[in-house]
């Protein structure tokens, strides 16, 4: 390739990719490095020029702070709850939608609808649904003679209630991913299993699920990351309560920075969180690595 053609090729690359790289650097990497730098300082957002270098002081503070530890535990517990409920439910619905059963189109639409609804709208709607005085769910429980539940004001029920909401919201997306995976499985593999005498359940267990492992890895990683990013439920539904049981890390970071005026500590929490999430994603990809290819 001549120098001129090489330059032209690089010029094209720059024109097409350059703007996006600039955006990426401006809105992702520069803030990321600023965040890491800020995590080494103690200052208030109201007066950012008056800052003192504290080294790893903010990191040591977060390790010894029970509220931060609780926030991490709550967030990872929430992510585990979401992943463990969404994956099987979404998989079963995808299997149903992949078959030749009636009302598939309607079910597909109904299941996917929450995915395209704003997280804020969903959180607000579920706040009304779970309201103990006028909420639809408590009134339904009362109608069938069951006691009303406190849902969002109970320390033991708030987190499961939000997991339930996320199950409703995220199942559609996971279902679509599983459905795409199911439709990509070669028919001849299933046909071979059928000829060998496998029942439907055996085909599902021994053929479909193993061949779907790539999709499963992807869904698990996506659902984990979505859950770890949860902010709207804490902000809108519970304010992180009761007693910190829904104080998700993203919300905690926001509160630390803006309400408690500790952006240095908030940046340290963000940095640690980034590293943990990175580690979890790598671990998930390694543990769930596919041993099958088709």
């Amino acid at each position: 390739m001549t120098l001129r053609r090489r330059l032209a090729a690089w010029g094209a690359v720059l024109v097409f990719v350059g703007p996006f790289l600039a955006f990426l650097a401006t809105f992702q990497y520069v803030p990321l490095f600023r965040m890491i730098r800020d995590s080494l300082f103690d200052f208030e957002l109201l007066n950012p020029d008056q800052r003192s270098f504290v080294g790893f002081g903010n990191y040591l503070a977060l390790l010894s702070d029970p509220d931060r530890r609780q926030s991490f535990l709550v967030t990872f517990g929430f992510a585990a709850g979401v992943v463990c409920t969404v994956i099987p439910v979404a998989f079963l619905i995808a299997v149903y939608l992949n078959g030749r059963l009636p009302a598939r189109a309607i079910v597909r639409t109904v299941v996917f609808l929450p995915v395209v609804t704003s997280a804020v709208v969903i959180a607000t709607m579920w706040t009304f649904l779970l309201d103990p005085s006028n909420g639809l769910i408590d009134n339904a429980l009362a109608m069938i003679g069951l006691p009303k539940l406190a849902f969002l004001t109970s320390q033991s029920q708030a987190l499961p209630s939000i997991v339930g909401m996320m199950l409703w919201q995220q199942t559609g997306f996971a279902t679509v991913l599983f459905l795409a995976g199911l439709q990509g499985i070669p028919h001849d593999v299933e046909d071979a299993a059928r000829i060998d005498g496998c029942s439907a359940v055996q085909r599902l267990w021994h053929v479909v699920i193993p061949l779907l492992s790539r999709t499963t890895v992807f869904v698990v990683v996506i659902m984990t990351v979505f859950s770890l990013q949860a902010f709207a439920p804490a902000y809108i539904m519970t304010s992180g309560g009761p007693n910190g049981t829904t104080n998700f890390i993203a919300y905690d970071i926001y509160q630390l920075a803006f309400s408690l005026q500790e952006p240095g500590l908030a940046s340290a929490v963000s940095t640690v969180f980034m590293l943990i999430v990175l580690g979890i994603s790598l671990l998930q990809m390694r543990l769930l690595r596919t041993r099958w290819s088709y």
Partner: protein
């Protein structure tokens, strides 16, 4: 993942970039305004003063100055001010929440207004308001309006029970007396309450814990006349007078007692719900509600269809109501501090403020304005005005009030939801102490 981890920094950057508020500027000279028309920028919460009518009235007498408004929802005001402070290009004038005065003053966001205040004006300001809007001997805002809380009741529901709440401060109910009435008026129990004794809070997010209302349940267990090193004194103030110590003040034995009383309302007596019910009082779903003088305006504008009344806020050991409302101040970085201060003082103290206080049923900050509004001497507004003067105290003043507010609110909310009062208040004091000591 990177997007997730960069959440904080990205949020800050985007908020700062999106911020429409900016400093004012002077336009070209005109025949009427040889120095050019000056545009001052003002950041204020939506649906709050100064209203367009107030601004137009001021502009009419200051033809060479225009006010450019930037509005945000009240819930985002403090965050917006934080971001603007960091941006270095704040608006000239801020309408901010009065209890945050010391935070903003200590951070150098606000300009002291002492040299702009007309002679005698300081003496005209309500003392609780003056304390709230001052820091280290300097005044940062004259104050536009004040609020106080009282207990509203549904007179039609109380009449058959033979309950007649007092109408003056000298005969105000104690909380024990009020609880008797509240319990008698409640209809149903457990899951089957049809009429709650006390309506849920409508302040903040509608959940319990809002410091303006619910910290009073603790502070009323204190006594400002008690020895200064005693726990009764500390309970009343809830935070050391220099705003730097929470241990032993917010979690004194009497404050814990108050927190237990507060908890019992939700978890033992169950006379008020844990979750919000919009318009519970107006819809006859509650006999009593704690609210400000603005609520009178709401009840007058939309007649709920029953007789209602107002009684002074009940107390335990010492009567107390919190003062505090949004107020105007000048930013320290304004390029036009003289003109901005002129606007702030004239809108806060003159006929514009008087008209606003009269029409909005807000309580005036200036004693001279209060004296000129006869409605303030007539029931039910008289209760609020008298409470403000006799019982009014600012929320605990501190350069870290915003942090105090957040931590105390969370603790009170958790106590309402069933957390152990002592454990939770102690945890709040522990969390607060390092912040206050900074």
């Amino acid at each position: 993942m990177i997007r997730l981890s960069g959440f904080l920094a990205a949020l800050l950057s985007v908020l700062a970039l999106c911020a429409p508020a900016h400093a004012g500027e002077r336009g070209p000279a005109t025949a009427d305004c040889p120095q050019g028309v000056l545009t001052l920028t003002l950041l204020k919460p939506q649906a709050n003063p100064p209203t367009p009518a107030m601004i137009s009235a001021w502009e009419a007498s200051n033809k060479c100055t225009k006010i450019e408004l930037n509005e945000v929802p009240f819930g985002q005001l403090a965050d917006k001010i934080s971001v603007l402070a960091a941006s270095g290009n704040p608006p000239d004038i801020l309408m901010f929440d009065g209890p945050n005065t010391q935070s903003y003053a200590a951070s150098g966001i606000l300009l002291p207004l002492d040299k702009y205040l007309p002679a005698g004006l300081k003496d005209d300001i309500d003392p609780a308001t003056l304390a709230e809007h001052s820091y280290e001997g300097h005044v940062y805002s004259p104050g536009t309006q004040q609020t106080a809380l009282a207990l509203f009741y549904n007179a039609d529901m109380l009449a058959p029970l033979g309950i007649t709440p007092p109408r003056d401060l000298d005969h105000a109910w104690t909380w024990d007396q009020a609880m008797d009435a509240i319990k008698k008026c409640q209809k149903g129990e457990g899951d089957n309450v049809t009429v709650w004794g006390l309506a849920p809070s409508r302040f903040g997010s509608g959940n319990p814990g809002f410091v303006y209302r619910d910290l009073l349940f603790l502070r009323t267990y204190g006594d400002p006349k008690a020895p200064e090193d005693g726990s009764l004194y500390k309970t009343y103030w809830s935070l050391s007078r220099d705003g730097k110590t929470a241990q032993g003040w917010v979690n004194s034995p009497e404050a814990i007692e108050g927190a237990k009383f507060f908890s019992a309302m939700f978890n033992v007596e169950k006379i008020t719900p844990k979750a919000g019910i919009p318009n519970a009082f107006q819809d006859r779903k509650a006999c009593f509600t704690i609210d400000t003088s603005y609520f009178i305006g709401a009840l007058v504008a939309n007649d709920p269809g029953f007789k209602w009344g107002v009684t002074p806020l009940p107390y335990k050991r010492t009567p107390i109501v919190h003062t505090g409302s949004i107020t105007l101040g000048v930013t320290a970085k304004s390029k036009f501090p003289d003109e901005a201060a002129k606007f702030v003082i004239e809108v806060s103290t003159g006929t514009i403020a008087a008209d606003w206080n009269r029409t909005s049923r807000s309580l005036p900050v200036m004693k001279s304005i209060a004296a000129d509004i006869p409605e303030l001497k007539v029931y039910p507004l008289s209760i609020f005005e008298e409470e403000l003067v006799r019982w009014g105290e600012p929320r605990p003043p501190s350069p870290h009030f915003a942090q105090y507010d957040k931590i105390a609110s969370d603790a009170l909310r958790d106590i309402a939801y069933g957390a152990d009062p002592k454990t939770r208040i102690d945890a709040a004091a522990r969390a607060l102490q390092p912040i206050l000591s900074r």
